[in-house]
Structure formats: structure tokens, C-alpha cells
């Protein structure tokens, strides 16, 4: 999707802070290019070829990229890029292809003024086998030509820049062809008032004129108009206090050809169901921020913002929406004299969402959140970290009678982590976590779903460095997940899990690494239900399962050469075996358990060669053979590969 990102990049510069993108504008952005060190004047041809291959269980893909740049006789910087990428999917018959060719000429007229000319041709192609047979293709072919100009200058405390561009585009899509012309201008001014105040403003305007044609119809007078404005100032009130205020506004009016759906399109798309749609979008944002270093160990930051977004559609008016949001956030950090680092964050916001008179979904969302982080280094080898947060989210529906979906949700999370190296050869850690989520639906039509979910976790870890080249790590885990329905005592679920992993790393020689890992997982699931005889609520297990897993890996380093702190060449071979067995049974029926096994063997090689000057070859290639009771054969025997070859001529 590099074409799309190039289009976004160009349009974002054009529209400044509004950040809107249209796929019709392609090619590199001249303003950004002028600042890119890669565009520094070059005096000789600098072609670079890069090839990448990526193959795994689901797809095989390759990309080729050739680019070069040189200084033209008339003093311009000329860049040429051609790249192609193809990906075939192993587990289905899909194919993706993208191609791009672009030529850019960047000319510096004088110290302040630069111009550019760009041409690009791109193809996006996706083929899949349709359900029921036959091929199903998705195509976007774009040709774009753009002229751009950038002016940048400073006058004492005043700085200004302006960017203008115009271009044409021809776009072919699956059901229609589009032709368009676009023109835009984007400018900004920044002014320093004294040493402590900076004011800046940006404005942009962009217009497009388009037409679309399908097999059945032609749509003229399509296009768009976009305006954006941003203004702000920052005040360094004192050496330790800074205040910022910004206001942004964006308006767009776009007429385009869209595909009919539902009653408009009789359930299916097609050239005969393309129609004309007009979309109007307006956004406003005002943000105030304060950042202050009150004392050497005490910092404070506050932010308040107001947001408005309005979308209006001429034909598909069920998509109309209006969103108004207000948000206040704060962050306080303090380092206590005995090095305890604390951070408190809080947040309070409210958002009104109105989806028009045809919708019952209009609502107000409210959210409050508070979070605390504390880190205490008791010594160089003993550290305690604590993180906690709590959040309340509430929804209030505007048309409650028609749509009684009011709900509240409280999420609380607490994490305690202790790490210690009590002896030179031993390091240990323990993590304790608690998460609670409470779901409350207010109306009786929804409240049967009200529930409370708790998750308790205890995870100790120990690492023993027996001697150089031999270490043992053990990870334990104990977790309980309990879900309890508020209005039904007998509707609850408890999952209990015990995990254990033992990992041994051994280096018998300088060139050989051996890793052996064993993991055990025990789990049972059940509910608290009243006993048939006594009526007492007891935990009754409904199922149990166990999984044993082993991993054995051997790496053999043939070569590893470092020159000037850079890995110049490295080659190694590896082999890895994975095995897993899972058994599941009901209580008392262990002997009748269902057992499934799966595993794989992977043998391969990894290489890394760097000759300097950008000449690089990197690769990892391996053959994978798997066995499991299910799955397609293509996922059981395949080559796994990743490679990159970069060669500057």
C-alpha cells in the first residue's frame, strides 16, 4: 500500500494540520522532499536495487525496488522509482499485486523557492476465487501528473512558507473510471513575539474536479472543496511553565460516485447501481495545554479540548452524524526524596453523538479515569513497580424509550511487579495482577447480561546462572478468571489455570547454543452451583484439560565477524523441534480423555552480510514440516523464508 501512503503524505502537506488525504494525489510531496536529507544535491548517478522475499505458512511474496537519483544538467534533482510487489496466498487462491513507477524532478530556483514535477503510474490488483467458482478481481490503476511549488522565507522574527500544487489523475476501478483535476495551496506563518511567545497560523484550500463513467452511465460535475485553518500560540510564561492554545477547523464538500447497497442497490453492487453522493464534513477542535516543572522533582501537565465533527450525506442520510466532545486530562509526576517515582493521571470526558432524526442510536458517552504508577528502587538489585487504574464509562441514550440501552461499565486494573537479584547467580521476579470489569445494563430488556468478571494472576519467575554458558529459567503461573451474572446466581464461570515453564540454555562450545524448554498447563472449568442435596453452593467442575509442550533448538554459528562495531558477516544453521500434547476430559473420566498432538520440525539457515555502502544481504530460510490432526496439507509442509538484498550500484 505504498502508493496510498504517498498520496496521504502529499495531501497532508497540502492541507496542513487538517490531515486529510485523497487517493487522487500521488507522488512525493515537494515540501517534505525539500527537507529530506536524501534530496541533498548529488553529483553522480546513485541507483539502488532492493529485493525482499517473505514466505510463511499463509503467503509467499516478493518485492523489487529500483530507484536512482542524479543531478540534471539544468541543476535539478531527478529521482526515478520503479517497484513491484506480488503476494500469493498458500491457504487459498488469492493473489495481490502492486506496481509503481514514479519520476520526480525537484528544482531549486533560488534560496527560497523550489519547484517540482512528478509523474506516477500505479497498479493495485487483487484476485481471488469467488464462492461458487470463477475469478473475482479488484483493480485500481492510477496515472497522476503533478506540478508543485514551495516558497519558504524568514524575516527576522517572522517565518513563512507556502506550497501550491496542481495535477491531473486518471483512475481505473473495477466498476468505473475516474478522471480528475486537482489544485491546492497551503501556507503558514509563525511569528516570535519577544523571547517567550510564538504565534502561528496555517491555512489550506484544495479543490478537485472529477468525472466518473461506468458501463451504463457517466457522472459529471463531481469533485470536492476543502478548506482548513489552524491557529495557535504558545507562551513560555517562565522557564518552567509553558502554555499552548490551538484552534483547528476543517470543512469539506465532496461529490462522488458511490455503490448502492440495501434498497438503493438491491443487495448487490455492480455498474448499474452506481449513483451520485454528496458528503459534507466539518470538524472543529480547540485545545489548551499547560506543562509545568514546578520543582526539580515535580512536573504537572493539564489539557482541555473541545471537538466537533459533523457529517451530512445527500442520498444516504442514514449516515448523518454529529459528534461533540469535551475532554480534560492531567498528569502529575513526582519523585520523592527517597527515589520513589510516582505518576498520577486523570481523565474526564463527555461526548454527544447524534445520528440524525432517522436513528435511535443517539447517545451521550461519559468517561472518568484515574491511574497511578509507582516505582521504588530499594536497592540496585531490588525494585518494586506498581501500576493501577480505574475507569467508569457510561452511556445515556437520547431516545431511551425506543432504545433502552443505557449502560455503565467499571474497569479496574492493579499490577504489582517485584524484581530482585539477591545473589550474583540468581535473579527473581514476581508479578501479581488483578483485573475487574463490571458490566451494568440499566433496562430490564438488557440487564440479564449484567455481569462481573475478575481475573487474578500470580506469576513468579526465577533465573539461575549456573555458570557461563549454562542458565536455567523457571516461570510459574497461577490464574483464576471468574465471571458471575448479577441476576442469576447459578450462571457463573470459573476457570483455574496453573502453568509451569522450565527453560535450559546451554552453550557447550563457542559456536553452539542449545535451548530446551518444557511447559505444563493445567486447567479446569466449572461453576458454583447449589448442591442437589444440601442446597449449599459448591464449585462443580465440568471439564479439565492438560497440555504438555516441549521445544528443543540447536544453533550452530559457522561464522560471525564484526568490523568497526558492525556485523560484517554471519552465517548459522539451526534446527528446532516443537511437540505439544493436549488432553481433555470430564471429571472422573481421565482414562477416556480426548488427546490431540501436534508438532513440527524446522531446519534452516540464517545469514547476514554487510559490505558497507548499503550493500547488504540478509536471509533466513528454513523448511518446516508439521503434523496435527487438522488443517490443510499446504500448512504442514512448506518453506519459510525472509530475505533482503540491497545493492547500490
Amino acid at each position: 500500500m505504498s502508493l496510498r501512503f504517498a498520496a496521504v503524505w502529499a495531501a497532508m502537506a497540502l492541507l496542513g494540520a487538517s490531515g486529510t488525504a485523497f487517493a487522487q494525489v500521488a507522488g512525493p510531496d515537494p515540501a517534505a522532499a525539500a527537507q529530506d536529507s536524501a534530496y541533498a544535491p548529488r553529483y553522480r548517478l546513485t541507483p539502488v536495487y532492493t529485493n525482499r522475499i517473505n514466505a510463511d505458512v499463509s503467503s509467499v511474496g516478493m518485492s523489487n525496488d529500483f530507484r536512482t537519483g542524479f543531478m540534471t544538467p539544468w541543476g535539478s534533482i531527478f529521482d526515478f522509482v520503479v517497484k513491484g510487489e506480488q503476494k500469493n496466498y498458500r491457504l487459498n487462491t488469492n493473489t495481490d499485486e502492486t506496481k509503481l513507477m514514479s519520476l520526480t524532478d525537484l528544482h531549486k530556483f533560488n534560496l527560497f523557492w523550489m519547484g517540482s514535477a512528478t509523474f506516477s503510474d500505479s497498479r493495485v490488483f487483487n484476485r481471488s476465487t469467488a464462492v461458487g467458482g470463477g475469478f473475482q478481481d479488484f483493480i485500481i490503476n492510477d496515472q497522476t501528473a503533478t506540478l508543485g511549488s514551495t516558497y519558504r522565507r524568514g524575516f527576522g522574527n517572522l517565518r513563512m512558507d507556502a506550497l501550491g500544487s496542481g495535477g491531473v489523475i486518471q483512475s481505473e476501478r473495477t466498476f468505473k473510471d475516474d478522471q480528475g483535476i486537482q489544485a491546492g495551496i497551503n501556507g503558514g506563518v509563525a511569528y516570535n513575539i519577544g523571547d517567550r511567545v510564538v504565534w502561528q497560523g496555517r491555512a489550506a484550500r484544495r479543490s478537485t474536479w472529477d468525472q466518473s463513467s461506468t458501463v451504463d452511465a457517466q457522472f459529471n460535475d463531481l469533485g470536492s472543496d476543502e478548506d482548513s485553518l489552524m491557529t495557535g500560540f504558545s507562551v513560555q510564561a517562565a522557564d518552567s511553565i509553558r502554555f499552548d492554545a490551538t484552534h483547528k477547523r476543517y470543512d469539506s464538500d465532496r461529490t462522488f460516485a458511490d455503490q448502492g447497497r440495501g434498497s438503493l442497490g438491491a443487495q448487490v453492487g455492480g455498474a448499474e447501481n452506481v449513483f451520485q453522493e454528496t458528503e459534507v464534513r466539518d470538524t472543529r477542535n480547540t485545545t489548551l495545554t499547560l506543562a509545568s516543572k514546578i520543582a526539580r522533582r515535580f512536573t504537572l501537565s493539564l489539557s482541555a479540548s473541545h471537538d466537533e465533527q459533523v457529517s451530512d450525506y445527500a442520498t444516504q442520510d442514514t449516515r448523518d452524524s454529529k459528534t461533540l466532545g469535551d475532554l480534560v486530562t492531567g498528569n502529575i509526576t513526582y519523585v520523592l526524596p527517597w527515589r520513589t517515582r510516582t505518576s498520577i493521571q486523570f481523565e474526564n470526558g463527555e461526548t454527544l453523538r447524534d445520528f440524525g432524526p432517522l436513528s435511535n442510536a443517539g447517545l451521550t458517552d461519559k468517561r472518568k479515569r484515574v491511574a497511578l504508577a509507582v516505582s521504588q528502587p530499594f536497592s540496585k538489585t531490588f525494585v518494586v513497580d506498581f501500576n493501577g487504574s480505574s475507569q467508569l464509562s457510561q452511556s445515556f441514550y437520547t431516545k431511551y424509550e425506543e432504545n433502552p440501552r443505557d449502560r455503565d461499565q467499571v474497569d479496574t486494573s492493579l499490577n504489582l511487579r517485584i524484581t530482585s537479584s539477591p545473589f550474583k547467580k540468581i535473579s527473581a521476579g514476581i508479578g501479581i495482577a488483578y483485573t475487574n470489569s463490571e458490566f451494568v445494563n440499566i433496562d430490564s430488556l438488557q440487564s440479564s447480561n449484567n455481569r462481573n468478571r475478575e481475573l487474578w494472576e500470580l506469576r513468579p519467575t526465577f533465573t539461575y546462572f549456573v555458570r557461563p554458558g549454562l542458565s536455567i529459567m523457571q516461570v510459574y503461573g497461577l490464574s483464576f478468571e471468574y465471571t458471575d451474572y448479577t441476576f442469576d446466581e447459578d450462571q457463573n464461570f470459573l476457570d483455574r489455570n496453573v502453568t509451569f515453564t522450565n527453560e535450559v540454555r546451554y552453550k557447550p562450545t563457542r559456536q553452539v547454543d542449545v535451548l530446551f524448554e518444557y511447559s505444563l498447563y493445567l486447567h479446569d472449568n466449572g461453576s458454583y452451583l447449589p448442591d442437589a442435596e444440601t442446597g449449599e453452593r459448591l464449585y462443580q467442575i465440568s471439564s479439565e484439560d492438560r497440555r504438555d509442550r516441549t521445544r528443543l533448538r540447536v544453533d550452530y554459528r559457522v561464522k560471525h565477524k564484526i568490523v568497526d562495531n558492525r556485523v560484517q558477516s554471519a552465517l548459522s544453521f539451526f534446527a528446532e523441534n516443537l511437540y505439544s500434547q493436549r488432553g481433555e476430559w470430564t471429571p472422573g473420566n481421565y482414562d477416556e480423555r480426548d488427546v490431540t498432538t501436534d508438532g513440527q520440525i524446522q531446519v534452516g539457515t540464517t545469514g547476514n552480510y554487510d559490505w558497507g555502502g548499503g550493500k547488504v544481504v540478509r536471509f533466513t530460510v528454513s523448511r518446516v514440516k508439521r503434523f496435527s490432526p487438522f488443517g490443510v496439507d499446504a500448512a504442514k509442509d512448506y518453506w519459510d523464508a525472509r530475505s533482503e538484498i540491497a545493492y547500490p550500484f
Binding site: 488525504a21 457529517s311 452524524s321 442510536a361 518494586v384 481475573l455 471439564s543
Partner: protein
């Protein structure tokens, strides 16, 4: 001791803050208690999600998707004309975004039925299963006159065993079916309607 004391004072402060968040009082269910679908097998996640959509209650849908849920659309959907003004509409598609979009889907439609067909297992690794699902989604709007739309597509859906529960971790739309729009396209439209800033 001073450090330890300060540490626990701060932790207690947070626990106290957690208690100040109080919820509204709910009304007891009209039809008695209930709800809750077990996630004890990989395909049960689909059963629970479909049931939640049919009842237009999001509880089992929320339980069926992982906290690390991610959604990815088809190439065609991500480049659709409707999203040209907001190219980030599919970015950072987390569980929170999925539930926000679902709430709008359920609120504005009187009928939502998901037929996930017969999922085909592509990869099975004991605690991870990848299914290929050819689905159709029927949506009937509340707005009069009621508008019925079928969304169809093929998706690779990853299901992972998390603490004993099988939950959907990744929904990857891979292709359209016929000339129908995908559920991924509908997701994009709903998120656009809820408001997204790029």
C-alpha cells in the same frame, strides 16, 4: 520503612479512588436471569457471537473476543471512496472500537443475523486455530421504511485459548462474495458515523 510506607499509602489511594466510581442501579431482567455462553471449544466463539447478534445483546459478543482483538479489512474496503476523507478509519481497530461499532449496529437495526456457515480449519495448533469463514450478515434497519441489506464475505478468523476460554483474536477479511459488500465495509461505515479523527 519510610519508602515502604509511602508506597502503600499511594497504592491505597488508588484503591480508594476505584471505589468512588459507582454505577447506576439496574432494573431486574424482564424475563428472569440468564445470559452467558461457554467458550469451551474453538467454534463456540462463533456460536456465542451469532447468538448475541440475534438477541441484540452484546454481552456474549464481548466475552467472545479477546482484549487483544484486531480487525483487518480487505484491500478493496480500505480503498473505498467512502473512506477517502478519513483514511485512518480502519487503523487501530481494537476491541473497544469493535464494541463501539457493535453498539451502533445493534441500536439502529431491529434484526441482525450472522450465518457463519461451516468454518474450515486452516491451521490447528492446540491452543490456536485459524478458520476460514464464508459468512453472510443480514441487517434490517429500524428507520422506516425498513431497509434490509445482506453483507457477505470470506474472512480468516483466529481463535486462541486464553485462560481456558476460546476467544477471537484476529478477524481478517480476505475477499468479497459476489457483488455484495462485506461486514468489514459495514464496520468502516459505522465507525465513520461514530466519528474518527485522522
Amino acid at each position: 520503612m519510610k519508602r515502604l510506607g509511602a508506597f502503600f499509602v499511594l497504592a491505597t489511594a488508588l484503591l480508594s479512588a476505584a471505589c468512588i466510581f459507582d454505577t447506576r442501579d439496574p432494573n431486574p431482567p424482564a424475563t428472569g436471569g440468564g445470559g452467558g455462553c461457554t467458550l469451551d471449544a474453538p467454534q463456540k466463539a462463533f456460536v456465542c457471537m451469532a447468538g448475541a447478534l440475534a438477541r441484540r445483546q452484546d454481552g456474549d459478543y464481548e466475552r467472545s473476543i479477546s482484549e487483544n482483538f484486531v480487525f483487518s479489512p480487505t484491500t478493496a474496503d480500505s480503498l473505498d471512496q467512502n473512506f477517502l476523507g478519513t483514511p485512518c478509519v480502519y487503523d487501530n481497530w481494537t476491541k473497544e472500537v469493535e464494541m463501539d461499532v457493535l453498539s451502533l449496529l445493534l441500536a439502529d437495526n431491529e434484526q441482525v443475523n450472522w450465518d457463519y456457515g461451516t468454518p474450515v480449519v486452516k491451521i490447528n495448533k492446540n491452543t490456536f486455530v485459524r478458520f476460514e469463514v464464508t459468512y453472510s450478515l443480514l441487517v434490517r434497519s429500524v428507520a422506516a421504511p425498513a431497509d434490509t441489506t445482506f453483507y457477505r464475505g470470506v474472512a480468516e478468523i483466529d481463535v486462541r485459548n486464553e485462560n481456558g476460554n476460546w476467544r477471537v483474536t484476529f478477524w481478517n477479511e480476505t475477499q468479497t462474495v459476489g457483488n455484495s459488500s462485506t461486514w468489514g465495509f459495514l464496520r468502516g461505515i459505522l465507525r465513520l458515523q461514530r466519528g474518527v479523527s485522522c
